[in-house]
Symmetry: C2
Subunit: 290 residues, 2 copies
DNA sequence: GCTCAAACATGACTTAAGTCATTTTTTGAT
DNA sequence: ATCAAAAAATGACTTAAGTCATGTTTGAGC
């Protein structure tokens, strides 16, 4: 897809050796410096630092977790839940704090008690691609834990909440001692693989307009309010986040959103979006020929 | 991404009722007819029909399967292999024959003895997106089998070969009676999920040129010849297939390939592609700023 | 309530890549 | 060997969506 914002500012180290004349050498050097600084900026996440001292340990019992009903832990016995809780730590996270970084080694499982988290990868051009949004009751990081690889993505809190952390050994212990649970996890991961394939096809084949419409509908399903206001999408996503979900530029999302607004398909209430005409959006999502 | 070839020729049934004037009604009707014909064409795959009578049952022993060394069945005992083979059927497939269609119910596992298979989805616009290329030793269809869903994709032979079919119950039997094997499958699927996430980011963020270069390198790794000619990509992919892997138009692939050829990065030997300058391709794949 | 930075919005312009049309080459069947 | 159909190649043109610049609104912190 993608024209790139920083497409032409990159160079690989080995090319240094090939830059024979001074100008080339200088350019290569500067690009290397630039790359280094990008890396440092990546490591030092300012929001993390400022938020560090606000972390505090809290006590949360799994059995009263609001997400429990649709959690994978749903039908574990109380004994097993106790076993998981033994070394569990629960921490309150503020918006912008990062649970784990791509490329690091997973040491345990994150389980969201409250709040919302985005799971994303940073491409070589430095652009973020959101792979998933997680909500209370969801697990995070089990893929890497099970396949014994490094994290394949990063996870950052987008709406403040409490998140529990279960050490690797406790989780794997239950996983291997309870075949039913293992089976359930297996099925879930297979489903997720199917969903990921669907996402791939969507991004590869549909226009940005169609993808935005489809994403709005998906968000309405997942984060729609209960009861009367069921068309209000209850998640504080910036236009940039939205752009990073559908894989496009922020400006494009803004333009399309006001387009949809003009067409009375949605209305914008502050940060939150309300779906006025779901059928219209479905039409936009499928094909937008008129 | 995508401007679409048939973007404006579609309409849903319910809209028929809304077309009040005669012209709209006629247009809607024609579009409906068109959609119906597309559906019929989808159902009647001519290549399948003409190839039907060439199928014949053959006997293949798993223990001599050329792909066994890197197959998931690799370290099953001979007893277990016998058990799997009991109701196994092996059939020779010609190019263009389809193993299974998206949306149908899986009844067993396909295991490739020889030949190559593409796994793909057809988008609502009728365009094909290739998700995977499978080679001897690979499994097909286990995801749907395990998650007990319908096939999420279709699989069609692109290079003639022999493919074995193991009934669902036999496969699931081994899966649930051999925890080590179950575990191994679980890990594999987790890895695959990771790979799929990577693919998603690549398609969402990289330009077509970068993706083509990356795909050529991947194909060289996977299908490169043994020994001297290790840079010859030994898979008969049409330009269209290649376009459907990277998610672009056939013409674009053709143009870029002759571009790469002019740059001496590759050479075209009939259908097959030879990588002349891997480092150059790596550079193209990462960033093509100059 | 005021300030300032971040987020949102909009216009102008550029370009990668899609689409359509036509020609050339390859391939497989008779 | 011949022919027709499929695949590959190339040119001309269009457009979705990216990029850059600049202005406006919002909201968190003092």
């Amino acid at each position: 897809m993608a024209l790139k914002r920083h497409g032409r500012n990159k160079r690989l180290i080995f090319q240094l050796t090939k830059a024979i004349n001074l100008k080339n050498l200088l350019v290569a050097f500067l690009k290397l410096i630039r790359k280094f600084f990008i890396f440092v900026v990546y490591l030092i996440n300012l929001k993390d630092l400022t938020a560090l001292n606000t972390k505090k340990n809290i006590k949360i019992n799994c059995s009263v977790c609001p997400g429990r009903s649709h959690s994978m832990f749903n039908d574990l016995t109380n004994d097993e839940l106790d076993q998981l809780s033994q070394h569990k730590t629960c921490i309150r996270y503020k918006k912008g704090q990062t649970l784990f970084y791509e490329g690091t080694r997973p040491m345990g499982l994150f389980c969201i008690n409250s709040g919302k988290v985005k799971v994303y990868k940073i491409s070589s051009e430095g652009k973020e691609q959101i792979l998933n949004l997680s909500k209370p009751g969801d697990f995070l990081g089990y893929r890497a834990l099970i396949s014994e690889e490094f994290y394949n993505a990063s996870a950052t809190v987008i709406e403040e909440g409490a998140i529990c952390y279960i050490p690797k050994s406790d989780f794997l212990g239950i996983l291997h001692s309870n075949p039913l649970f293992f089976n359930k996890m297996m099925k879930r991961i297979c489903q997720e693989l199917g969903l990921m394939e669907d996402k791939l096809v969507t991004i590869a084949q549909k226009s940005v307009r169609e993808r935005l419409a489809a994403t709005l509908l998906m968000l309405k399903e997942t984060y729609g309010m209960e009861g009367v206001d069921s068309n209000l999408i209850d998640i504080a996503l910036s236009r940039e986040d939205l752009a990073n979900i559908i894989g496009t530029a922020t400006e494009t999302v803004i333009r399309l959103l006001s387009d949809f607004k003009n067409q009375q398909l949605i209305s914008l209430q502050g940060k939150k979006i309300k779906v006025l005409n779901p059928k219209g959006l479905i039409r936009e999502a499928d094909f937008y020929g008129r």
